[in-house]
Symmetry: D2
Subunit: 334 residues, 4 copies
């Protein structure tokens, strides 16, 4: 790390920082700039609160904080295959379905519909994190059973959310991929327990997470020995008020530079408005996304949650057709 001293730091203050660095078992290199002084702390040991010392302006941490998630010259991009759901190496996966599982008929109908349109994954919440305690909270285990039945009929891989460590065992019994939602990206006990299930994890970016925090959350999972992690950009909270969130698509190419993990985009939550979903799905494919997570509902006006951002079947089919064209133009398949 590099420690930048304040303008006017005294020799005594500088000396104290040097001693601190050396006391922690690191070597110190002094850098005398014009009008500034910095100190480099060299060695393996971790941070040592140097920013608490008098005369220190700021500390620039160096070295990669996410050792397992980071890209490297020696690391190929991770590809994933779960049933027919395949991501990476030029293949783009579409995971589609309703926000929540609402009934047997609903989930079976949608599952057939999205499979026919080309999806390989089925989304649908059985345990739902809802902002209000008075909103529909999901069907629970019965919803999981229905998802499994839909899988049996269609061959789609089931992607569904898990909200607490003690739910992991039951959700893992039915799901092909565990989703950790945006609200739980910093729920570290959940990340660890989900990781230990051994199932692939779809990790959604927190509303207000930086890329470093997002990758460190992935690191929690990878550290359990589970290497099958998909990152999902789903929009961040900003001052914008014409969309539910701001879909920050530049995170797609940025993550491809920074990590070997595949990147999925959720244009449904990312916009919160059905009419904007298809254009942003196209944009995600063009930006290099390895997958899409899209909400589809046969009758959004009757949905029990988030109907406002669900595509109707015809809209979903059109989106798929257009995404396939853009993918093909860039030499990929979807």
């Amino acid at each position: 790390m590099i420690i930048v001293m304040k303008r006017g730091a005294t020799p005594l203050q500088i000396d104290r920082v040097i001693k601190h660095i050396e006391h922690a078992g690191m070597r110190c290199q002094v850098i005398d700039g014009t009008g500034w002084t910095a100190l480099a702390a060299l060695g393996d040991k971790g941070p040592a609160n140097l920013d608490t010392l008098d005369g220190v302006d700021k500390v620039v941490p160096l070295g990669l904080p996410y050792q397992l998630a980071g890209a490297g010259p020696d690391r190929l991009p991770t590809t994933l295959q779960v049933r027919n759901l395949a991501l990476g190496a030029g293949r783009i996966a579409v995971i589609a379905g309703p926000c929540s599982v609402e009934s047997r008929q609903q989930i079976l109908d949608i599952a057939h519909l999205v499979r026919e349109a080309g999806a390989t994954g089925l989304r649908g919440g059985a345990f739902k994190p809802r902002t209000s305690p008075y909103s529909f909270q999901g069907m629970g285990e019965r919803g999981l059973e229905l998802l499994a039945e839909a899988r049996t009929q269609t061959g789609l891989a089931v992607v569904t959310e898990v909200m607490a460590p003690e739910q992991v065992a039951i959700v893992a019994r039915y799901a092909d991929v565990l989703q950790v939602g945006a609200r739980n990206m910093r729920n570290y006990p959940l990340l660890v327990t989900a990781g230990e299930s051994g199932l692939p994890i779809l990790l959604k970016r927190g509303f207000s997470a930086t890329m470093e925090e997002f990758l460190l959350a992935a690191e929690y999972i990878l550290k359990t020995g589970n290497a099958r992690v998909m990152l999902c950009e789903r929009g961040i909270r900003t001052f914008e008020d014409h969309t539910r969130f701001t879909l920050a698509l530049a995170s797609v190419p940025y993550l491809h530079e920074t990590t070997h993990l595949p990147v999925v985009v959720d244009p449904s939550h990312g916009t919160g408005k059905a009419s904007l979903v298809a254009p942003m799905a196209l944009a995600a494919v063009a930006a290099g996304a390895d997958g899409l997570l899209v909400e589809v509902h046969a009758d959004p006006a009757a949905a029990l949650s988030d109907g406002f951002q669900a595509l109707v079947p015809a809209g979903f089919r059109q989106m798929m057709a257009d995404c396939r064209k853009v993918a093909a133009a860039l030499g990929k398949t979807l």
Copy 2:
């Protein structure tokens, strides 16, 4: 709720929305403006996805979403007393201590120190949510035992964080107040389990939570029958880069208008910089805060977590003296 139609919505579209409202058991009142049309849906029933219908521009929800947390002409501000820790009705409580419990000597020393300076609550993390899996994760149950010992010696009320539903039982065995951290404000299973413990809850605002989301999180706890909830403003994530978070103090008077629950401010996390903590503690008292949550460490440079935002003992004593003066000037005690 009120449904605003798009400019140029057709009579057919308007008619369909009216039918939808009536089908849901609500009455519909048409409002014909100059250049706009709106529809009011009157009745008890909840939302019905009206924003998914063609021709609808937006839906304005009305009525109070947080029925238990909301202020009202008939509701007095909630006051709380746990051991000597008393908030509300002109009394300002200070909860102080280290970020993490690090050793027996450390926590006992700080406990005595903050009590002598006037604090009535002791903070200190035993289970620590950390952004990186490689950071110190807390002492666990041993930390809780040490907190309890510090309480025995000082009489301070112990406030400590719980991170997962399955930790609630063990933390509740030692703590006087359960803290739900900012990262877990949307961890709904945790809110419910913590609420069911019956202990007072210090609920921190999420980094990116609106006031409505914050109050709905409190509502999850109140709905369990546990009325002893303190709200804690601890800073939000914005574009500012000179502080760790942006401490949004206007939430203090806003919450006093909107809810009957007491409001605590955490100037340590809210700024992330030791030199800014005391001025913001003073500002919080002046803005009407019912309590302060402050990090204090005898030797910040040796802290195992967040040393950069901890006050040293002398700084804490000075802050307490100044806060007492401001409180007195406004007719309160601290």
Copy 3:
């Protein structure tokens, strides 16, 4: 507009608001919900500070605030043609060039290069708004002369920034399109003076502007009688720190729903990182952008401003080839 009363507003307070509405020449319609009361003010007259009255919770303005910029069933999307630069109706224009005009050789070389790669507009700053007074501030009128010479040689339309009302006359003498930069989106005297020049205006979104504020800034120009306005999404300021700004691409389809004006995207400022520019240019085309504004420099390491976000010539040619493929896949030309 609709006025929502607070829970517990008294009949007297409601009555006072009604009187206020009627006094302003509007009619008032009372809406009695379950647990809430709202009042609709009907008529042509503008707002009347109703939010200052006791018992009022909030005012929901209705009607379109941007009458000239707004889309409507009777309004075709605006297309623009300036020399060979054509936007709209399926044609995507690329405006490329350096951040600043730096020398005769530099601008002529880049102009030829971008034209050969397919651009129809040439960007380049002569008057530069710079965050620091110590940074390069542009070549001034000499820069404009060089842009005009580049136009003579290449036929490219010249797009260049104007920073103050008194610069409009001189910049208008050389430019084909006046650019109003993000920092000046709320510089209303500049918007009016630039509009009155009669030249097409490229209006960039402010760092922190909502869509409504952006369209109202366009309205300032349109109100001068100048209908040739292009809107440019160039990224907003958020908490993200891995890019210079957050490129909010959902504004492209949103603006296409909301206004008849064409939409240009600037992936260079929108990311601030050369390696992210091409993927985001592709994403912008896929999202439906009518144009791209891209920084290109023959030797970014020698640039006098913003070299870090400029494409090198080979990178620009590759971006153009890929954008052409995506445009073709969606039935457009670039």
Copy 4:
């Protein structure tokens, strides 16, 4: 500056950066960390686009970017006195008045009222920057004449906004202090022209300006030789929707550490809600503000602009009384 190389940067890439540094006349010091390499560029010369070179991860600029605005061991805090308006050295100034000058009677009445309550400055806009071209744009020069008349009657120093370089001469004829509004913080030609007037400048922070950008805007003024600059925190744009802006009060102590210029707080724009103004004014005083800028209107419901955030006379008097108590408690006068 310090240049951090990417993990896996090749010796050739490192060598090229070193050559670049030396070619620019700087010396280069190599820092070999564990798993990382950094290069320090030493010498007077400015940046050289090193972030555009292959293998460079990021550049950490060092040295103070705002040489005139920066605090230093040798620089006393700036105090200002204009008529009776005095800031700094323990004196807190209150500048109060309506958003806009609306009529002779209105401004004279308010001027007398705020003076009697203890204000020493009179605010009031004659040239108004308004988001919509259809809103009231101010009385222009007639408004300035009325402000001057109010000054003659009350002795208050007149603080009023200037929106364009060509308005500076006329506004300077009447005003005691020129206000540069938040929308114009990055209007560099205006900063220079206003600075050259020689009058004291009240510079408001832009909605989305970092502290560094704010201080660099002040530097534009200071560089004209005009040392009488007041910085005004007036709230930033964030995701919060219960207030108009987020009043970031930690900027007060931060600016006191970082610059010698006095700091004024505007709780009216900073909250946009009359009921929150007084608590935030108190908080600003407690946080160390040198001045307050407050909107007051005798009849907010009849105001031509921003009535929703104006205090009524009784509210203003109460705020002054309370602020005086808090100031006294901290050893200051107001």
